[in-house]
């Protein structure tokens, strides 16, 4: 037990330490000081790439319009690529076109940084689709998230414009994701992850049977999959696959990759605002939630599986869906981190976790802000902060203000709209699919767990996470269309609404922070923030949790 807690603590603690210098780099790369000559050269290079539209500073509407234009183009490009991949090169295993609904779902999934996969990579995707379509989106979609966070921070710091989307996108892609991906991919290759353009190898086994072994350009894909809160695996079982994650060192590297940039985003935010103490407080609140969830999952998963009660099987922890080379503790750690951050990759099958352990990833995704996806996780957190200062205004009589910006009903309405959208999409979708054959006929497990599979799928789609209770037969037209729409709404509204709020706040005169306002660096703020997250995030979903994982746990304990 000691060893199983020691390793996750070291991983989280070590990544937290690494995230501090990385956060400084993010702040320098994304929002350079005017006197920074090297960054000025990079900025003019990026402006040249983007062409004439690149130079002017944009207000929130222009920034949002540029963001949507880019995303629409990216979506259309990958959607088309998936429909014609059979006619294009780099397809050694001869994969055909995807159906229109699966192509729609997949393009929506990767353009929204979700990476929900209703296909299995080695069965459906040409190498060109993997590398030229999906992996490209794995670089630029976290870059979009980082750009949004940078723009929000600039607005809050009092700049008259939010910066320029085209330059921010390239800064995040080329100066943040690309160098880290090169580092991670090189290490993964050296640790034994395949990197080849050859198609499947055919072996004759020792017993004389024929076995085809899928391969491909895996290492490059997996590195950015982990670093960019993407999560879409090269192979169907993601990082549970022994070629995608060959051992404990590759597993360690990939686990750190899940958490690194989301953590660094907090420090970047603090630096752009010039409020490091505020960032520290937010980081502590996020870390507190993370450690709490991980501790719960460690305890619940240590219980042996109920399936074998009374049978002559040694009663170790639940090993269904887990890999011997990785072990139980590494699987639970991964399951919690990947859903806390909207990464969504897995190294063990979520469906086969003990029922209460399976609830923890769902809670992770319901909150979706500790630490959340790159950029957007902290933006979600910031919405909670606005609601928290407003609540504090009513509860303890402080002037509702955030960093001197007066927070009034209009801003809070938009913030609550963005937060409530998450619950509406998850609970509405689950209700519709659980009550009709569209969902009920696609579950693969009996009883409450079948309901959990549907709940998890909508949760994952709306959280832009991408993990799944994968037993669900989700490659159907209703599932592909419904989750595709949910992913798009859940990505772009919580990006547009905060940008609009920043626009509203910036239009008002800033007041000085006084003893009458809630200090964003003090414990009261941290407490109110945690309370708001619990009230909104957890209570909204309590009934659904009881119907699914809790009922399953009670029925079998």
């Amino acid at each position: 037990m000691f060893e199983s807690l020691l390793i996750p603590s070291l991983v989280i603690g070590g990544t937290a330490l690494l995230s501090v210098p990385l956060g400084s780099w993010l702040a320098r790369a994304m929002n350079p000081a005017p006197a920074d000559a090297a960054m000025a050269r990079a900025t003019s290079l990026f402006a040249g790439v983007a062409g004439t539209a690149a130079l002017p500073g944009q207000d929130w509407k222009a920034y949002a319009a540029a963001l949507l234009t880019f995303n629409l183009l990216a979506f259309l490009f990958v959607f088309a690529l998936l429909l014609v991949q059979q006619h294009l090169p780099l397809n050694p295993d001869g994969h055909g076109a995807l159906s229109w609904d699966l192509a729609f779902n997949t393009a929506a999934s990767f353009v929204t940084n979700t990476n929900l996969q209703h296909y299995s990579g080695e069965q459906a995707m040409s190498y060109l689709s993997q590398i030229g379509g999906l992996m490209w989106l794995q670089f630029v979609t976290p870059a979009v998230g980082l750009a949004v966070l940078t723009a929000v921070a600039r607005g809050l710091a009092g700049r008259s414009d939010l910066g320029n989307f085209w330059i921010d996108l390239q800064r995040a892609t080329f100066l943040v994701l690309l160098p880290l991906a090169i580092l991670w991919a090189t290490a993964l290759v050296l640790l034994g992850v395949p990197m080849t353009l050859e198609g499947a190898a055919t072996a004759t086994t020792l017993e004389g049977a024929s076995q085809a072994i899928a391969r491909g350009p895996v290492a490059a894909f997996v590195a950015v999959k982990q670093l960019g809160t993407n999560g879409g695996g090269f192979f169907g079982p993601n990082s549970a696959h022994p070629l995608e994650n060959p051992g404990m060192w590759s597993n360690l590297l990939q686990t750190i990759g899940i958490l690194l940039i989301p953590m660094a985003c907090v420090w970047m935010f603090g630096r752009i605002l010039g409020r490091p103490a505020h960032a520290r407080l937010v980081f502590i609140v996020m870390l507190g939630f993370l450690v709490l969830k991980l501790s719960v999952a460690m305890v619940t998963e240590a219980a042996p599986t109920v399936a074998f009660a009374g049978l002559p099987v040694t009663t170790e922890a639940n090993l269904e869906g887990k890999e011997v080379r990785l072990g139980g503790a590494a699987s639970v750690t991964w399951a919690v981190l990947t859903t806390a951050t909207s990464n969504g990759s897995v190294n063990a099958m979520m469906d086969s976790l003990n029922p209460l352990t399976g609830l923890v990833p769902m809670v992770d995704m319901w909150l979706n802000s500790t630490f959340g996806g790159i950029g957007v996780g902290l933006v979600n957190m910031w919405l909670y902060m606005l609601v928290a200062v407003f609540l504090a205004g009513m509860l303890i009589g402080r002037t509702p203000a955030y960093l001197g910006h007066k927070v009034e009903a209009r801003e809070v309405r938009l913030a609550i709209l963005a937060l409530a959208l998450h619950a509406v999409l998850i609970l509405g979708g689950t209700a519709l699919f659980a009550a009709t054959p569209m969902g009920a006929a696609t579950t693969s497990n009996p009883g409450p767990h079948g309901f959990s599979q549907i709940l998890y799928e909508f949760t994952s789609a709306s959280a832009n996470n991408g993990s799944g209770f994968e037993g669900l037969g989700d490659n159907t037209v209703p599932w592909n269309v419904a989750t595709g729409i949910v992913m798009l709404l859940a990505r772009y509204l919580p990006i547009l609404l905060p940008l609009a709020i920043v626009g509203l706040l910036a239009a008002k005169p800033r007041a000085a922070e006084t003893a009458g306002t809630l200090s964003p660096e003090g414990p009261t703020f941290g407490f109110m923030l945690a309370l708001t997250i619990l009230l909104f995030g957890a209570l909204t979903f309590l009934p659904a949790a009881v119907l699914g994982p809790v009922a399953e746990h009670l029925a079998h304990s």
């Binding site: 085209w166 395949p194 990197m195 950015v224 079982p237 002559p312 099987v313 090993l319 011997v324 497990n445």
Partner: protein, 188 residues
């Protein structure tokens, strides 16, 4: 015009991220670690007998058996069972495995041999699960059990340890068994 900028930015990021980056990683793999970069294929007498990293099916008593696979060791369609722990099918499958292995209350089956891995291609089992099978393997090969056990312990020493469990690569161990204790004509 924003569409113009979107095209140019897309092309630039595509060229660098999908093109240059992939090429760089490919070069490192093919030049520095070609064996693992091509899937850790194992050659025997000039033919590929499998991948060191990918489980293959073993059913003969003379070989160690890997963990159960929900995809029947199909390495072009990997996956787990995705059964919930309360799913009665898990229990049915375990009962069949217990019968096949001949486990009983006095000699219970190691848990990993009763559970399917997440990938369906888990190349390893623990040393305990390998030693549990030593009796059957030794009988089928007509050699004493301690000799097989000693070989398995040596094999476990060659694998890095993950969280305290000593483990065995099933394909490598079976190749070593074939070398040390060759099968006669009808040995399977």
């Amino acid at each position: 015009m924003s569409v113009f900028a979107a095209f140019r930015t897309s092309l630039a990021t595509l060229a660098v991220c999908s093109g240059l980056y992939t090429g760089l990683v490919l070069a490192v793999g093919q030049l520095v670690t070609p064996a693992t970069a091509n899937g850790q294929l194992v050659m025997l007498d000039g033919t590929i007998v499998g991948s060191r990293q990918v489980a293959q099916k073993f059913e003969a008593p003379a070989y160690l058996w890997p963990r159960p696979s929900a995809v029947d060791y199909n390495a072009t369609a990997a996956g787990g069972s995705n059964k919930s722990v309360a799913n009665p099918e898990l229990r049915t499958r375990a009962e069949a495995l217990i019968a096949r292995y001949g486990a009983n209350a006095g000699r219970p089956l190691p848990a990993e041999l009763a559970t399917a891995s997440g990938s369906g291609l888990d190349p390893h089992i623990s040393l305990d699960a390998a030693l549990w099978q030593a009796r059957r393997v030794a009988a089928a090969r007509g050699v004493p059990e301690p000799a097989v056990a000693a070989l398995l312990r040596r094999q476990a020493g060659m694998q890095p340890r993950a969280s305290g469990t000593r483990r065995i690569n099933v394909l490598e161990a079976n190749l070593a068994l074939d070398t040390a204790f060759p099968l006669r004509e009808a040995g399977g």
